[in-house]
């Protein structure tokens, strides 16, 4: 079967052991306001437009191919795209010579992507690295995720996942049979607040987490919380998650610092960045980090 992937990122060294390749699967049940990969949310391919690369009036090939007539030229000599009217035919991305319009998302079978992952196998063997599935929510394309992991395992590549957990255990449990490391986000223990900021309550997430730890108590797991100003940046929030996580064996807890580096990509796909300009105070983060480790 084929799955939809928007990026295969080599030499990833921040998430999981060693030098890893991350395969980003498209589609996510949550819509977190701070999401740093907004292009991951839609479950099918879409265009992204970076005006910095656009060469303007000397080209206009995109306008020639767009069936919706979504392109117009601004005074800055950059194309403007009406993303709201886009039917995702992707013709403009194929026509753009400057790659100002590019494609987020490609359909291929598992072997295609694992071939790419395997290219770096000589680095994994020295660094204990391997494949990491991320997204979007990788377990949403459940069957495809299983195929990717199985194929990797057959080629001697270790596996990890970054998941938001918001897929019912009954649907996604088989994915965890093929994982060596698990990164599992727990964003808030208050379901209402969770819903307000991510679009869904936390019931499914906590249930999946519990059942996952029971089914795979020996697989090392890192529970993670991105600290978002105004959402979960209090001591109580972090203590509550920390103490919840502590009950499970082989499970460590880590907080991640909020950043706004994804904001450019909102512009690329024609969306407004949902959060304001507020940044996370560095001292506060360090304080919460200390608490998380207690």
């Amino acid at each position: 079967m084929e799955g939809c992937v928007f990026n295969v990122q080599k030499y990833s060294v921040h998430d999981g052991p060693g030098i890893r390749t991350i395969v980003f699967l498209k589609g996510c049940p949550l819509h977190c306001k701070w999401c740093c990969n907004p292009e991951s949310q839609l479950a099918k391919p879409q265009i992204a437009y970076n005006p910095e690369k656009c060469i303007g009036d000397v080209c206009m090939l995109c306008a020639q191919v767009c069936p919706q007539k979504n392109m117009s030229l601004l005074d800055t000599n950059k194309v403007w795209i009406n993303h709201q009217n886009c039917i995702h035919c992707l013709a403009c991305a194929k026509a753009c010579p400057a790659k100002a319009i590019s494609l987020y998302g490609e359909h291929h079978n598992a072997q295609y992507f694992i071939d790419k992952v395997e290219e770096d196998s000589i680095f994994y063997s020295r660094s204990e690295g391997g494949l990491t599935l991320s997204g979007g929510e990788p377990t949403m394309q459940t069957e495809f995720a299983i195929e990717l992991l199985k194929d990797a395992k057959e080629r001697g590549i270790t596996t990890a996942i970054e998941t938001c957990g918001a897929i019912p255990w009954e649907k996604c449990h088989e994915v965890y049979d093929y994982l060596d490391y698990i990164h599992f986000d727990i964003k808030h223990l208050n379901s209402e607040k969770h819903k307000e900021w991510t679009g869904q309550g936390n019931e499914v997430i906590l249930d999946t987490f519990r059942k996952m730890r029971e089914a795979h108590p020996n697989t090392p797991c890192v529970a993670r919380t991105p600290i978002i100003p105004g959402f979960n940046d209090t001591e109580e929030d972090i203590i509550a998650i920390r103490d919840f996580v502590k009950q499970f064996p082989n499970t460590t807890y880590e907080v991640l610092r909020y950043h706004r580096y994804g904001s450019t990509k909102y512009e690329f796909i024609g969306r407004d960045y949902p959060l304001g300009t507020e940044d996370l105070d560095g001292d506060l983060f360090n304080h919460l980090k200390e608490i998380s480790l207690q």
Binding site: D15, P97, I122, R126, S127, E128, L256, K265
Partner: protein, 834 residues
């Protein structure tokens, strides 16, 4: 969710910031070293003409004699007359020019252009020099006339070579109007240095002293057959030269002993007085006699390398060899005897580094200057690696060199770490830490590739295991290597132009420089394009090999090196100068350089993809776009820029790269035999990819006219978009390992500091180095990019297109980020570090 970028400053950067803020805490424990460094580091270099004067004076008196003997007599004249100086604060004695930063002259190389060059030197943009009126007078009256091309008696090597080259080779070598200016198409490097990079066997001097070498030469003299004409004409003057040379360096060292004894008497500070008395005693003993402790060993080595710098202009400065090996017995014995602490050992080594930093490798010619912009120097100090028996060679002194570089990240000396499959993890991690902390040092060289290559070219495995890094990225076996000619640099981007313009280039217009392979209108298939490129490339190779043969043949008539010959087993055995074209038993490994590899591969890949696969453009349109420097062809240029590129582990480009490499490999496999050497394909540009780019018009990879070529075996600027693992794999996939005539591929990798931050970052960098070793790539050096780089990238994005800011879950080109986000990143960097 992702980790935010973290940035860390190297100690070097920290020192600069601390110093600006008035904080000198970083100097603690290194007061002596910083005193010497601070006194000198910002001075504009000055030319000292003494060496040239005494050299010329002697050469004028010895015409007609055996060249090595003449050279030894000239060295004796220098040793007797050159000014000796006290090194303030330093624990080592010896310098070969005036106080401050200085460069010296080698008129045997370019004395015929001195008159012109000294007018330009004080104001030239790259690497300027000052000089006193007295120096100017000395140059004009005592030096230049003897080497004048028309009226002087000392014909320089360059003029001899110029006269020897056939007309069609000359045409691609020098500008027709400016005889000594390179055309940067087929570029010789033998006329601005008298030898390719070199490393002598210092251990021999430490163990036996010049007294021992002199006795060896005397024994050889005594054993000559007094009736044999060859012995009389060749060997006798050679060994006599060695005797004179050994006397010369000992005499020179004793002048230092005399000076320090005399000056010590005047010294008021009792501590310094004692230091000077001790220095005098050491100069009295070494390098004449074997060194007895670590301090004597260092002093002996320093005198020897200085004398070598006086003897000749070795390309990229004479190297220092395997210092952690030959110094180790002295270090170990002194430490066990309680005579030396690690801090004292580092201070002594750093005394040498700050003394080295005062000697500037001066290039009088425009071409030499362009190859070595910014007072470049590569006096490689080798550490680590394997013993001649193949055991791991790291020792406590190895780690001390790395510690010194971490704590005192001066760019002298050029530190080179040998890595092999069984290098201890501690060593790899200390190298990784030093890369992070310092300014890109050490560069790494790979035993797993180099030992194999040296053995396949005729060395014994013991000799190969004992190689020393020499110059930029080369490996030398100090008693087996005998080839010293500078190699030819070939601009293959010009071959691309010649393929597109029917044998011509954009800059030179109608002049036919290459072969007439036909106008592009006649090319119907990809094979037609490829065959035309290969014909042009082979034509440049042909001229390169013609140049090299003439260079090899003529050099021994112009240059001699009695010091380096005295330190070489084979020279002493055969009674032949190291500059001799062929020395029996020698392994002759030379190099020719492929320039603009990435530019060429990307150009060919773009043509193949767009003209023949996708058929969205034509060769004619590409040629017209090149002529217009892409003005009016912006859409086409974007297509070219976005075609497959070398450096991304993309088989489409890499297979073309491998084929380009094969063109050179097959050529040298066939014609090395005629040269009589192993003429190895190399990818090491120094800084010359910039001047080579200045003669090449727009190229089919979308590169605009006169922009620098890609450097070494690195990708074109900003074209390696798939991270450092892809860079290594592309390098690997474009090699032809079945051929043995291959040498260094220079590989620069930039890292964002966040990817190597902390202890975990060190471990991941170490594992990256392990994989580089597994891939058997020759060389790698790292740049860990800091805030300054980000600022520079913001101001000049074209030069920093490839700079990746990598955050897990989101990675982007720094230059693709909005200005505001760039500012954000820069600001955050400051917050997390100060």
């Amino acid at each position: 969710m992702t980790q935010p970028i973290q940035c860390c400053y190297s100690p070097h950067e920290q020192h600069i910031m601390d110093a600006a803020a008035g904080d000198t805490n970083y100097k603690k424990g290194r007061e002596r070293i910083y005193k010497i460094l601070d006194r000198n580091q910002n001075l504009k270099p000055v030319i000292d003409a003494e060496r040239a004067k005494y050299f010329t004076e002697s050469m004028a008196q010895t015409e007609g004699e055996h060249l090595t003997l003449r050279w030894a007599k000239a060295m004796m004249n220098i040793a007797k007359n050159i000014t000796v100086y006290v090194e303030e604060d330093n624990l080592l004695a010896g310098r070969i020019g005036c106080q401050g930063r200085y460069g010296i002259l080698y008129p045997e190389l370019d004395g015929d252009i001195f008159e012109e060059a000294i007018k330009l030197l004080p104001t030239r943009v790259t690497s300027p020099f000052n000089m006193t009126q007295e120096t100017v007078d000395t140059i004009l009256n005592d030096i230049a006339p003897y080497w004048d091309a028309k009226t002087g008696r000392g014909k320089t090597f360059f003029n001899d070579l110029y006269d020897a080259l056939p007309e069609d080779t000359l045409k691609v070598t020098y500008e027709p109007s400016e005889k000594s200016t390179s055309r940067f198409i087929v570029n010789e490097t033998a006329s601005f240095r008298s030898s390719n990079q070199w490393v002598p066997d210092y251990e021999k001097v430490l163990k036996r002293g010049f007294k021992g070498l002199k006795e060896e030469a005397q024994a050889k003299l005594a054993a000559l057959d007094p009736f044999d004409p060859l012995d009389n004409v060749n060997q006798k003057p050679f060994y006599e030269a060695i005797v004179i040379l050994c006397d010369a360096i000992v005499l020179w060292a004793n002048r230092y002993a005399d000076l320090y004894e005399k000056e010590a008497e005047k010294e008021a500070d009792p501590v310094r007085k004692q230091e000077m008395v001790d220095i005098a005693a050491r100069c009295r003993w070494v390098p004449e006699n074997p060194a007895r402790d670590f301090r004597e060993a260092l002093q002996s080595q320093w005198f020897t390398q200085l004398f070598s710098r006086l003897e000749q202009k070795t390309g990229t400065i004479v190297s220092n060899g395997r210092m952690d090996q030959y110094l180790y017995p002295f270090y170990k014995a002194d430490k066990e005897a309680g005579k030396l602490t690690d801090e004292q050992a580092m201070e002594l080594l750093e005394c040498m580094w700050v003394a080295m930093a005062q000697f500037i490798d001066l290039y009088m010619s425009v071409t030499g200057g362009a190859f070595n912009e910014g007072y470049a120097h590569w006096e490689a100090v080798t550490i680590g690696g394997q013993t001649p028996q193949g055991q791991d060679a790291t020792n406590e002194l190895t780690y001390l060199f790395l510690r010194s570089k971490q704590e005192f990240p001066l760019h002298y000396p050029d530190l080179a770490a040998r890595i092999h499959a069984r290098s201890p993890q501690r060593y790899i991690e200390e190298c990784a830490k030093t890369v992070k902390e310092g300014s890109g040092f050490p560069k790494l060289l790979n035993d797993e590739e180099i030992v194999l290559q040296l053995v396949s070219n005729g060395a014994t495995i013991e000799e190969a295991f004992d190689y020393a890094v020499s110059g930029c990225a080369e490996a030398r076996m100090p008693n087996r290597d005998t080839f010293t000619s500078g190699g030819v640099y070939i601009n293959f981007a010009s071959a691309i132009e010649m393929m597109m313009y029917n044998g011509r280039t954009f800059k030179t217009g109608d002049e036919l420089l290459g072969l007439e392979t036909g106008e592009v209108e006649t090319f119907k298939t990809w094979d037609d394009v490829w065959n035309a490129y290969v014909a042009q490339a082979r034509n440049l190779l042909r001229h390169a090999f013609i140049q090299q043969k003439n260079i090899d043949r003529l050099r021994e008539k112009h240059f001699a090196a009695p010091l380096l010959s005295a330190m070489h087993d084979l020279c002493m055995k055969e009674g032949l100068d190291l500059h001799t074209e062929f020395i029996p038993g020698g392994v002759d490994i030379g190099y020719f350089e492929s320039m603009g590899f990435g530019t060429v591969v990307d150009s060919l890949a773009a043509i193949k993809k767009l003209v023949f696969d996708e058929k969205v453009t034509t060769l004619v349109e590409i040629r017209e776009a090149m002529k217009a420097n892409f003005e009016g062809y912006e859409v086409l240029r974007q297509r070219l820029l976005n075609a497959p590129k070398y450096g991304n582990n993309d088989p489409y480009a890499d297979e073309i790269g491998k084929a380009c490499d094969l063109v050179c490999s097959e050529f040298t496999d066939k014609y090395s035999k005629s040269l009589g050497i192993e003429y190895c394909l190399r990818y090491v540009p120094f800084t010359s990819h910039v001047p080579f780019g200045k003669v090449v018009g727009a190229t089919p990879n979308g590169r605009v006219a006169y922009f620098p070529l890609s450097d070494g075996s690195s990708a074109s600027h900003g074209c390696d978009t798939h991270g450092p693992t892809a860079v290594l794999l592309s390098n690997y996939h474009t090699k032809n390992p079945g051929f043995h005539d291959r040498a260094a591929r220079l590989l620069n990798i930039k890292f964002d500091p966040s990817t190597v931050a902390g202890e975990e970052g060190t471990k991941k960098l170490a594992s990256f180095i392990r994989t580089w070793c597994d891939l058997k790539l020759w060389h790698v050096q790292f740049n860990v990019i800091n805030k300054e780089t980000l600022v520079a990238a913001q101001q000049d994005p074209d030069r920093y297109r490839g700079l990746i800011v990598r955050i897990a879950g989101y990675s982007a080109y720094f230059c693709d980020l909005s200005p505001a986000l760039q500012d954000d990143l820069i600001a955050r960097t400051q917050q997390t570090t100060i």
